[in-house]
Symmetry: C2
Subunit: 436 residues, 2 copies
Amino acid sequence: MKAIQVGLLGIGTVGSGVFKVLQRNQEEIKRRAGRGIEITMVADLDTARAEAITGGKAKVVKDGREVIANPDIDIVIELIGGYGIAREMVMSAIAAGKHVVTANKALLAVHGTEIFEAAHKKGVMVAFEAAVAGGIPIIKALREGLTANSIQWIAGIINGTTNFILSEMRDKGLDFDVALKDAQRLGYAEADPTFDIEGVDAAHKATIMSAIAFGIPVQFDKAYVEGITKLAAQDIKYAEQLGYRIKLLGITKRTPTGIELRVHPSLVPAKRLIANVEGAMNAVVVQGDAVGTTLYYGKGAGSEPTASAVIADLVDITRLHTADAAHRVPHLAFQPDQMSSEKVLPMSDVVTSYYLRMRVADEAGVLAKVTGILAAAGISIDAMLQREAGEGEKQTDLILLTHSVREGTMNEAIAQMQGLPTVLAPITRIRKEELA
Amino acid sequence: MKAIQVGLLGIGTVGSGVFKVLQRNQEEIKRRAGRGIEITMVADLDTARAEAITGGKAKVVKDGREVIANPDIDIVIELIGGYGIAREMVMSAIAAGKHVVTANKALLAVHGTEIFEAAHKKGVMVAFEAAVAGGIPIIKALREGLTANSIQWIAGIINGTTNFILSEMRDKGLDFDVALKDAQRLGYAEADPTFDIEGVDAAHKATIMSAIAFGIPVQFDKAYVEGITKLAAQDIKYAEQLGYRIKLLGITKRTPTGIELRVHPSLVPAKRLIANVEGAMNAVVVQGDAVGTTLYYGKGAGSEPTASAVIADLVDITRLHTADAAHRVPHLAFQPDQMSSEKVLPMSDVVTSYYLRMRVADEAGVLAKVTGILAAAGISIDAMLQREAGEGEKQTDLILLTHSVREGTMNEAIAQMQGLPTVLAPITRIRKEELA
């Protein structure tokens, strides 16, 4: 089957990420989607940059209207941003019968009603997973994963810039102005950071989640928006003493009298998982009446994380337009004729790191023998802990953390150490995963 | 449009949850799905119990084959469990052209290949969101939300019983046997807990995730499975001293030589979010090459959390068979003609709790005046912190945490307190969200 033809409007940070990831993972994506997905046309004012990124693999033009006018294009990705030309392009693409994928939260939070109506009438999809929380599939979770629930509330860290600044303020006791400058220097905040630090970006996203959760139209004008610019380092400190962290939360909640929709700094109990989301990461907590509390965490911005969401939307659209209805999503994610025969490794071939605890005689030379066996096997030690033997005690616990090694190698080393006369009990071995 | 007719096989803990949630949220679910979803037939050996739960709203029979033979039934939910009769019923339902929704991880991990093949040939869906991590939409995230990615690894706390036991062991310094008895007494572990504590249940789930992530067939027989029965309290303590927590992880990883698939206790750095998942909660970390690290957290078991996943599958199937292809999922989750006009509240009508910091004169009577104003407004105080004034200092900080109150009421109280001559600077007010 012919590949789905995609036109890309705007090849900046996110756009280039979409192009790169589609290239890099094209085989795997095709095995999932049941059909190739190709960006065949790119519109960007900076055509030289666009040519450099696409390397001749897509036709580059200056004017997005050329992309929309091309009858071969099935899907248009809008990554221009803002309300002006982006809105015009999205509406034209819909009018031309193209499906649209966009990351433009501002556009949807303000003009969503008009856009979705037009799309519905025309019978095309406007997909926007990338508009909220970057690579985290939170739109999918809300629209599809939690459909059984009456959603009670959503609270999210949905702006990475402000979460980075707040983390810096807390970690280093910095005032807002200083932390902002750090964030700008490190690329976590833009030269004009207003939309982020004043809470506007978070409010766009909260507005979209509110509509999806409660079945109300997008109404950004009704959102209460307060940023983090007035936060003082001392408040973060006092909050800490009281057992809380301060986070900029986007909140929407169903109450008996109406829907709450608000963005402002919030004290959150330090023991909550979301209070421990640090740096530029995002997380959204959703409370449903059946499911209880769920949380979704990941990178909320950046080139490839956002591209991940844009491409997921492309695959969604592709699957709907290629597979037979009953198999929109293949049972095991990949098309049945595209399964891999890659083998599952036996445990002895797994490579991981280890915690070892051994009961040893409290005498000279024990450690040398143990570490000698490990060194001979090429196993290096990451950390060590020796419990001090109590008075009169002749045994003690020796605990080692190792670096990564093949399990088979570790098995042999353990057998050898177990054979030492100074190792007095069966060695305890627990695997260690850094998950980094 | 006529409601989708669903037949339920097995109305135990999860089945009764499915029935209850479908009843309770039927209007909202219909607004999302575009069509009613009704359980019209239930098969259970305990027909008296089934009658009591369904209250005459569904036909109750003893034999699941009657449900499958009913031509009016569109979808069959299998909640029998195990490999025997459940397998027979699932295969018969597929053969009869019914879509199947199941929470049966054991069945899919062992017989998934046969089942999915039969479903594919017959053109029906076998949906199984509830089979892994209960109410967390992790199957959807992997199959649809992260399709852009080459998945690198998945590591999950996917068995609530063992995570509860490990949390108890750590919190209270208990040995495994004692913590297990506690878990059994509290209903977190079954009378025969073998499948949970030996890691078999987690391995079933890891096997399913492995297949979806890497496009390989389900192959439970290749999984390495080690439970938590041999864990000693002292290892949890030593791990803690080294900066780690011990969790039972289901891990699957792509390596240059093959796929790792293993379940065993693992040391995890205490600073990782997943290390802080306590009690019977589940969490899954997915590492993709584009999106980076994402995490999904929620209840992994229980009547309504699992029902949440089962019903999400029902809605998925319903949407695919009713809406036009282009609008399988409505843009804003609810059908366009089913949007609510519920109003968004002005900020003054929002009810929340507060952190207040005020710069006050360090003299007698200040606190009485402040608390007097709050009491008169009906605002009760949750906690208080007063910074000790330094030597010679005549001012100090007074910090109050309040219970919930209407924002409008709080605004008035703040204005009054601000008017006190002993309040020396603008009062800082930050909202507080317990998120519980």
